[in-house]
Symmetry: D2
């Protein structure tokens, strides 16, 4: 049996990566795809690497064109997916939104950080945040999932064991994240122009990146009280990968062994989280193309601080792989189907 | 049913890539692996990206340790695989040699270009060159296959339609090839040191690269007469990919359409060769991680010359993917099993 | 004493590089600069690296705004510099045009390859091609210089000794050139988008690149008869550098020593050409940021062919460094002033 | 008049960069050079880019071979320069040590972090730390200077204005630094192998990097009390550049304007520090090849924190450029001589 899947917003890097993962998935078929700019074109005219892999012409971006799908992925800029999501759900189609519009449970926070129109604010308080390692049971049985952002995935998974243990001084968390350039999207900008970014490195949107409230919402939920963080994003001259280095004060004296054990135990049952020891600090290349999140906690006895390093592929565990993981949960399939494969180096 | 597969020389990039492809193959299991330097270690201690993906300890590099395998891949430096190949075949194990020792049918040519010892020269004249698009029927039923070199794969596939048509002045062929740095291997050298190769570009081994006689052997077989070429290899600051740009004089006036048609027809039945038109000249990124060879022929009416561009991933179609393609043929499996998947961008 | 220099078209990478070289030149000052898009802005608002290095506001792009200059560099797209050049010369200002409009001595050839309007076709037959190693004496005393293209510089310097010797079968020359991405300009394109070009490699404009007639014009002049070539350009994932690998049939039996000696002698007096031996084939990184052209000839006795490798920095010897070299000749200064400095690695 | 300069440890990237800067310096000549591995060889046999730029054969690494020099740069691994420094000073030669052996004023701290032999511990308390923006007056007139480390330079300059103002909660400083790969040196390692580091990113030596006590020593001196920090170093797939992102709690409510003014005022007289505003956060490419340190402070009202971004070229302001700046001070020359030039992009 095969489920029919749609992709809305198929032109970007996220769209191309969704296609890759779905082509490799044994129980789904890509039934429809659309974007704003390429209606009527073959999808492979935009994604040249998919030439002869997918024979599909983009339809117009209307909910009704996806009514025959079991599930639709929305890969759209913020502010543009809430209306489509509402219409699709009304048509009985399950929706996984890879954009930001459904992630914040508080509408006021959404307005403050995004300043964008929203066509379905009343759904926000109940929408499930699609991080399976934290919300697996709530995800099953949903019709609508807010797929987490790339930076938040790396940071929330990196901190969850510590917050659950209650070992962290919550007002001392500094998250320094570095992202490959696919994270900045396919739209042409001077910052993403090859000669400008090659052999270059920069911080951006310090103290104002929109993933901040999403991270704080989830860390607060894990900690059971409000958490404010510093989130420092950077652009790195590579294609895929996010590395988050998270530093915080411990509220008690710990040891390296306590940290290692806490992480091993917290993620013992998780297929897609790998705990590394401090002599093998995660490299983004080790998770490239895969759905893994590699995490290593480090104890600094000198300063009584914990440093956590967390690595993902921003397009896989940070977007499309996690979306397929959620899809599997929504469709009642084996959670790792289509995203469990040998890692390419 | 599952075939037992061994890998000898598992430490290098080729070893890691073989593991990736075999892990994704539905009808094989990796039963044994070995290298010179890491006997007794977990394979994933060397290939960190494979952590928790493969639980296998390297055995000693002796044929008898692989006697229980149906097929063994040899991924060894030239001069070191002929003896192992001979012993494995004697034990009834099929062998695919990814090294250079079995590729030249003429022992004198081997000695001239490689200057290395050879423990099984008498097998050379009859060993089948494992390029399925050219030698498919001969490959089936063999016990030993010489897996082609990376540069030769890109050039032979790029020229085969023209040589079969007889359109080329055979003494005018210039092959200018560019390779990503995995092609230079995992051994540490100053040329491969990141600061030396990043933002750099160089030709190397002009008029003396060892792939030259291999290319000429196969082009001569296709043309039905002896072919001498210029082969100019280059190193490029990227990881994977070979792009060969091949220029030659035509022996008659042609048209772009004649070229396009000839290539489309020659490769009409081939799953892993994609013919692109001249407005979509192959990019190595379009084939990265995949077993495709993308080819575009270009007619230059002004000079009466043909230029062919051919792109592969040096580790897949240029090595391990092709080896798995050969494995499938030897084991009687669907030829594309395990190497037919959505391309990652 | 200090000469007043103007730059028209200051926004691009060429503009920024001209500024760098002129800031380091002891006998000139940048007196005016202009571009189409940033009139009224500080130059360093576009070239952030020049912050606090140059205090200059862009004027409107009119010849009269540069009337006080001794010499003006034009760094404009083809089709846009001929009128300005004419007006500036009329105002008594010397002009070095880094664009393509003045390079072809035959107007019909210009029209055929560029298809662009030209406002001063009658000047073309007499305009001197600014390659000092070939045309030094003609350059001195000119008011207008056509600064050579980047690819042509690498190829013409690479072939000049052989053509002067008369050792080449002129109908067999294949030029395979690879360029860093600054050569593709500062304008945003999908091909130059970081994630698309990083870890990628492609040929482009095969058999139709506009530098072809420029190369052929100069090779023909050197050979004393008409030369047709194949010119295969490629884009490489690095910022600066062009490597040209040029293959041709010799018309007689030569030796490596004959080649080395011919090159050493031809360029014995040239400060900016370095002849390397075949065991040190040029790397683009060795000339990065410098005005050097590194060249190595290789003899292939097996095929009776010569292969020449030639490396330059496309923005220096391929554009701005050569332009300053020409400026020094026009102003009667030491030819190497401002471009003779330690190479950065 | 020209000063005679020696370089001991000329083989590495630091050695090559010292040569570049000294070749461009109008009042010095390179009089002698040495390294452990290439005695008797031309320096340009190791630094190919310097071919025909420097005609100098490496002497043996003995102090007496440098007795005729006015000043010698030591560019050696830690543990190997203290004896040479002592001998050179005894011979009346000024010494600037680019290694780590002279930087820590407390010998016990040196032993704890470096665990290496030291041949001149009694000099440590009085050796001047060669950061001209902080210690200019002490540097003048010295015979021996400890040239700062690359990471420390970026962090100390980034924090000095805040510490002098007293605005920082001193126990909350987190320094997240990212370095290009020349910072990891010229010695071959798997981590620095091109295919392993290209498109990769990793943290390393968390909570144990040897620059930590050096940073803390200088921050403590600036703050007037002991400072403990977290220092998180990372390796980035680029050649040159360090970007430090430093996050800390303010001990009072500030504004963006207060920060901007404090930085502008603190560095008002400094040629090599450029303060950028928060809408132009430093890119490492803007300082590549130059002696600049670009700094931008950011106020985060939401968390009452300050984030400072500081960018240098690790080989220039982080090593050789700063060393030449110190040399100029020691020799009584204009401080910016030889390191004041147009920045290359």
């Amino acid at each position: 049996m095969s489920f029919k899947i749609g992709i809305i917003g198929v032109t970007g890097y996220t769209g191309g990566e969704l296609i890759r993962l779905l082509l490799n998935h044994p129980q789904v078929e890509i039934a429809a795809a659309s974007s704003r700019s390429n209606v009527g074109k073959q999808v492979s005219e935009v994604h040249h690497h998919l030439y002869q892999q997918l024979d599909l012409i983009e339809c117009e971006m209307k909910a009704e064109n996806f009514a025959h799908c079991d599930l639709v992925f929305l890969a759209l800029p913020h502010g543009t997916s809430s209306l489509l999501a509402k219409e699709l759900i009304a048509l009985g189609v399950k929706v996984i939104d890879l954009g930001a519009d459904m992630r914040l449970r508080d509408f006021n926070t959404y307005q403050k950080w995004y300043g964008a129109e929203h066509h379905w604010p009343e759904i926000l308080p109940d929408t499930v945040y699609g991080l399976p390692e934290i919300y697996r049971e709530q995800i099953k049985g949903q019709n609508l999932i807010a797929n987490p952002g790339c930076y938040p995935t790396s940071i929330i998974l990196g901190l969850a064991p510590l917050l659950k243990k209650g070992w962290v001084k919550l007002d001392t968390i500094v998250c320094d994240s570095k992202s490959g350039m696919t994270g900045a999207g396919k739209s042409l900008t001077q910052q993403s122009h090859f000669p400008d970014m090659n052999d270059n490195l920069a911080a951006y949107k310090l103290a104002e990146h929109r993933h901040t409230p999403e991270i704080e919402q989830e860390l607060s939920a894990l900690a059971g009280e409000e958490v404010l963080i510093s989130f420092n994003p950077h652009l790195i001259p590579m294609n895929r990968g996010i590395l988050s280095t998270i530093t915080m004060q411990a509220n008690q004296v710990l040891t390296q062994e306590m940290l290692d054990t806490a992480y091993q135990e917290f993620y013992a049952a998780e297929e897609f989280v790998r705990i590394r020891d401090k002599s093998h600090l995660p490299n983004t290349k080790w998770v490239q193309g895969s759905n893994y999140c590699d995490i290593a906690p480090v104890w600094d006895a000198r300063t009584n601080r914990i440093i956590v390093v967390s690595a993902i592929d921003n397009l896989v565990k940070g977007a499309c792989g996690q979306a397929v993981q959620n899809m599997n949960l929504l469709l009642g399939l084996d959670e790792g189907l289509g995203i469990r494969y040998g890692v390419m180096y």
